[in-house]
């Protein structure tokens, strides 16, 4: 009877040890699953990341694509590429949209794992078209009310925006794309 107890405990212990050794993030994940995860602190980190993303993004547009701050910009390569591709297209036409964020309201932040999160944010932007060389305003002010679903991943110790989806404000975002969530 005693031997049976020893075998049961040892087997379970070995299985837990192997699970922890196999993946370096296993302990973090275990803490997240069992509720020992600093959710409030990480939520704040995510809010700051999204705010910093918006502020730097409008900076890129306002400066006509200046690369200052690009290394600190919390976005994945393809997200950065699309922003600069857009700025270059406008510059070719001799124009530049200057984006100014008015308000961000965080509607929901969901954690998929300790290293992956989804943030739904209601944002209002004002966009003005300027002449690229004279910087004179050439259009009226366009109000852009959107709901953005940001997909974030923790990489190299900081949160990075790996992708985002844009919806008109008030629209319920589509269900999370389950097949893509863990491929980022």
């Amino acid at each position: 009877m005693r031997a049976r107890g020893v075998i049961l405990s040892l087997g379970l212990l070995f299985a837990i040890a192997a699970s922890l050794l196999r993946d370096s993030g296993a302990y973090e994940y275990y803490r997240y699953k069992t509720g020992n995860f600093p959710r409030a602190l990480v939520t704040q980190e995510i809010i700051s990341t999204v705010r910093f993303f918006s502020a730097t993004l409008s900076g890129f547009y306002a400066t006509g694509g200046s690369l200052a701050g690009l290394n600190l910009f919390p976005a994945e390569k393809m997200v950065k590429r699309r922003i600069f591709q857009d700025i270059d297209r406008w510059k070719e036409k001799g124009e530049l949209p200057v984006m100014d964020r008015d308000r961000s309201t965080f509607r929901k932040i969901t954690f998929l794992s300790p290293e992956r999160a989804v943030a739904i944010v209601d944002e209002s932007w004002f966009i003005v078209l300027q002449n690229y060389t004279t910087r004179r305003q050439i259009s009226g002010r366009k109000a852009d009310f959107v709901t953005v679903r940001y997909f974030l991943k923790k990489m190299w110790g900081r949160w990075i925006i790996v992708d985002y989806e844009v919806y008109p404000q008030g629209e319920v975002p589509a269900p999370l794309p389950a097949d893509r969530l863990f491929s980022w």
Partner: protein
């Protein structure tokens, strides 16, 4: 001496079996990481392989000692020998599988073909082990059966008809579905995801077509949203497809009473939403200076292709182990009953 080894071996056998059970259960529970692996990928992890190795060692030792002491003359022990042999076969199958398994995915529109061995293949290599043998064949999608939601269709299964041509066969037709894999020339074929590919056309302002393709999108079942991007444009195109517009929620204006297929199109340039509305098939949609149209749709299916010689050992091994285990328990109960009757 043999008795002593047998005593220790019994505990090693029990410990490794229990450890494997706990490990697989812990991984499947998602307590130490997201459970995104398939069963076979889980079995190929080093903690499982090491446990299987120990279990196989203990099984071999048990078989050797039983043969030496002549324990298998008893009929219940014979059943136990079958059980052990089944375990060994299953273990060997797991090791062979961990070295050879190949998992791939091929997404094809109706009427589209692909050579899986070409230098720029459409075949996505999802899981490749050291001695894997990816398929080398021409595969053509002859037909994707109408989806259950489409008019006049009663089946709940997704089916596809393929034409497979490899070194051994010349245009063998395969009917595959999403329930059971079909075996052909050592490869298992099964239908994975299915969906619609809308005919996407990009135009210049003058009307010339710049780009023209059927874009494979995850817009099935009707109303499900997916998006695509092109490398040359900073836009994201979000699309929903309704084969019958009469039940589309929230459509208004010109589309309010409309029947037939309809798209819901949303276009965003980075964070700027530049278009949001409905469009009929073939209708031009403009966003900034981009002109795009979404035409007819083709059905597409994802064909999952698996090559795994380890399965030929694992499946008979599991059957043998199950049969041996059941026979052993039945024989033991019979013996116990016989003893009670003779004592009584």
């Amino acid at each position: 001496m043999v008795k002593k080894i047998r005593f220790i071996n019994k505990y090693i056998f029990a410990l490794s079996g229990w450890y494997l059970f706990c490990y697989i259960l812990l991984q499947a529970s998602g307590l130490f990481g997201p459970s995104v692996y398939g069963l076979m990928q889980l079995l190929h992890q080093w903690p499982v392989l090491s446990g299987v190795g120990v279990l196989m060692g203990a099984t071999i030792a048990e078989l050797w000692m039983a043969c030496k002491t002549g324990a298998f003359r008893d009929s219940s022990r014979k059943a136990l020998a079958v059980f052990y042999a089944g375990l060994l076969l299953t273990g060997a199958g797991i090791f062979v599988s961990s070295l050879t398994r190949f998992e791939g995915s091929l997404i094809l529109n109706e009427g589209q073909g692909s050579n899986t061995a070409s230098s720029a293949p459409d075949l996505i290599r999802l899981y490749v082990r050291k001695f894997s043998r990816p398929p080398s064949a021409d595969i053509a999608m002859v037909e994707v059966a109408p989806f259950p939601e489409e008019a006049g269709c009663k089946t709940r299964q997704h089916q596809a008809r393929l034409l497979v041509r490899d070194g051994r066969s010349w245009g063998k037709e395969l009917r595959v579905n999403d329930a059971f894999p079909v075996l052909s020339n050592g490869y298992y074929y099964k239908v994975g995801r299915v969906g619609y590919s809308p005919h996407v056309r990009f135009f210049r302002q003058g009307g010339d077509i710049v780009d023209d393709a059927y874009a494979v999108m995850n817009i099935y079942p009707p109303g499900k949203e997916d998006s695509f991007r092109t490398t040359m444009l900073p836009y994201t195109f979000y699309l929903r497809y309704y084969p019958d517009a009469s039940g589309v929620p929230g459509k208004a204006g010109a589309f309010a009473g409309r029947k037939g297929p309809l798209y819901k199109v949303r276009i965003a340039r980075n964070l700027d939403l530049v278009h949001n509305g409905y469009a009929e098939p073939g209708e031009l949609v403009s966003a900034d200076d981009v002109l795009v149209s979404f035409g007819d749709v083709k059905r597409w299916a994802e064909i999952q292709i698996v090559w795994d010689p380890g399965l030929y050992l694992m499946i008979p091994g599991l059957l043998m182990a199950a049969a041996g285990g059941i026979a052993f328990i039945m024989q033991r109960n019979k013996n116990a009953r016989y003893k009670v009757e003779t004592n009584g």
